[in-house]
Symmetry: C2
Subunit: 337 residues, 2 copies
DNA sequence: AATTTTTATGCAAACGTTTTCGCGACAAAA
DNA sequence: TTTTGTCGCGAAAACGTTTGCATAAAAATT
């Protein structure tokens, strides 16, 4: 009765038929008579039968599990993508095993190993900052299991990838500054190791050169959290030629920047305009003035990643180097003219 | 070679020994000679053997998987707990399947069913707002698999639970107001269906009655997000007797409240003090003035939940009604005197 | 030398499925 | 009547492990 879960054996025994018949009946196989199917279905619900996904997995070499490796779940962006992955996977009968690398290369490697051991049917990864060697990803592919990169992608490994318009987003931001008469645009850039940081930097640079504005190295400084955003902005304000606009690599950095501007008595956006990146709902709502930002479709990126992954499960050549780029949007609020 | 993963069969074949010997060798069984063990280990790494957790799971009736059901992953608190769960589970050789209920009772039920089907070894759940019927949780227990409630616990089902000092946190907040001369303390309370909201309300109420301050119904209003926090605070400010302190059920509500206060030109904390709940690092950093709040140890709660869960895996009577209460702390910043 | 004990290994069953193959029954066609 | 075909079902193998039991060889004891 309550001794463990019921199996198809129990159903078979109760109905005095074979397990194969039960299995087929539950899968609505045409060989089985309607009468038998009905009986099986009834007995199944009487016993509260739940198929054992482990046994199924073993038999069909398919775990119906996908792995997700992200740097840190607590970042709003990543938990948003996770939400998208989870929703789509669930809708297709899959489940998600989450791992966080904590931005550590070593943990990323052990995560990969663990997921492979769990025989996940596919893996989505957002690469850690620390990672410069990518053999563990190639290893996944050698095993023949589909791999999709999301956001923090990896050009060294040929795999489907999902990103958003980092370059275009940055371009839009800088272009917006220019079109409102700003010429001294500073950029709080992210770590060089991250492709997304480079893309955002490039979008910014290309706008400058398009408008024949010489690049000024003092205007391009590294900052990727609240404190460094604050600190570096203070330094920007000490420059002889102060910037009249600041484009930050992410929202929390922009928030730090705003704090500095406010403390030093600059008016935003009149004296200096600010645009962030990510459109974090909490941050953009809480800053005063409200932060303008580039919206990044995190949920859709997760969903799309899961979709591309599942599409490649069970196919012969599962690694098309297809890159899907999702749209970003400039959300104007109060830190821009 | 690269055709699928290597199995113990492959190792056995290569070494011309039996699979049982290989299995035992890999588990360092004392019956096996050192020489054989060494050979097996070498061949295993040569073939890059990874144990098939699915097969293992089937054989030992143990998936080394735990399920986690939370209302919404994107909430900072929940992603923090997830992080704790993941870290601890990983350290013990377990993995985590995440499900979100999206605050829906129906999805919670299907989540439970899916996790049971996946034969997870245990389940941690933070109950959805909508849930009033708890039979799906009892069902988990009938199946004999350990269940732990976390934060959003459920008194109707006897199971180990992990919470934080919601009552005490609220008590500290209100007590702090009182000790600084405030008497007209308002409370932006959460939904009645949630025990944590009730606890926070009770802490607040008990402080009032301890100090013989009559409870005023106009001071206790429902609000649990930015907009309602903002709106309800505006209404509080329309009262004949305006409050001189506001305790909010969570940080984002407190932030909404602050926004209203600021717009109406009230000085915080001089005219009105504010304390939130949760100590969200982003929110408390961004509000001006910086929000005082009750720190809630999300990471530790997740870790502790995982720990209690694993402790109860494989024991005869896995449902002691043990409630672990983790400490909250009053973090004073700039919205309090 | 004969017996017992120890050591190291193999056989086979089991976990819960799915699926290939085959078979008997019965109906339709020859 | 024989052949062919369809229908409904069962037997058994397989997926990759673990483990109780048996056993052969070697070592220790009598």
């Amino acid at each position: 009765m309550s001794k463990g879960q019921a199996t198809i054996k129990d159903i078979a025994k109760a109905l005095r038929i074979s397990v194969s018949t039960v299995s087929r009946a539950l899968h609505d196989h045409p060989d089985i008579s309607e009468k038998t199917k009905k009986a099986v279905r009834e007995e199944a619900r009487r016993l509260d039968y739940q198929p054992n996904l482990i046994a199924q997995g073993l038999r069909q070499q398919k775990s119906h599990l996908i792995g997700l490796i992200v740097p840190e779940i607590v970042h709003h962006f990543f938990s948003t993508t996770l939400s998208g992955v989870e929703d789509f996977a669930n809708s297709q009968g899959y489940h998600v095993m989450v791992c966080q690398s904590n931005e550590s290369y070593e943990r990323e490697k052990t995560n990969v190993k663990a997921l492979l051991s769990s025989r996940v049917d596919g893996i989505i990864v957002s690469v850690s900052k620390e990672t410069t060697d990518f053999s563990h990803f190639k290893h996944i592919q050698k095993r023949g299991i589909p791999l999709v990169f999301m956001d923090r992608i990896c050009n060294e490994v040929k795999a489907p990838s999902v990103v958003c318009q980092d370059y275009e987003g940055a371009y839009m931001a800088a272009e917006h500054f220019i079109s409102h008469g700003r010429r001294r645009i500073a950029h709080l850039r992210g770590p060089k190791s991250l492709l997304i940081s480079k893309q955002r930097l490039n979008g910014y640079l290309d706008v400058l050169s398009k408008h024949r504005i010489p690049k000024k190295d003092e205007y391009i400084v590294f900052a990727s959290d609240f404190e460094s955003g604050y600190r570096e902005t203070l330094r920007l304000l000490d420059l002889h030629e102060k910037p009249d606009a600041i484009f930050a690599v992410n929202d929390i950095t922009a928030a730090g920047s705003l704090r500095a501007l406010q403390e030093k008595g600059f008016r935003v956006p009149e004296d200096i305009s600010v645009i962030g990146f990510g459109d974090d709902p909490v941050i953009t709502k809480l800053t005063v003035p409200k932060l303008s930002s580039i919206y990044q479709p995190g949920y859709e990126m997760g969903k799309m990643s899961a979709q591309m992954l599942l599409k490649n499960i069970g196919v012969q050549e599962p690694f098309p180097h297809e890159i899907r780029v999702l749209k970003t949007e400039l959300k104007l609020r109060e830190t821009t003219l």
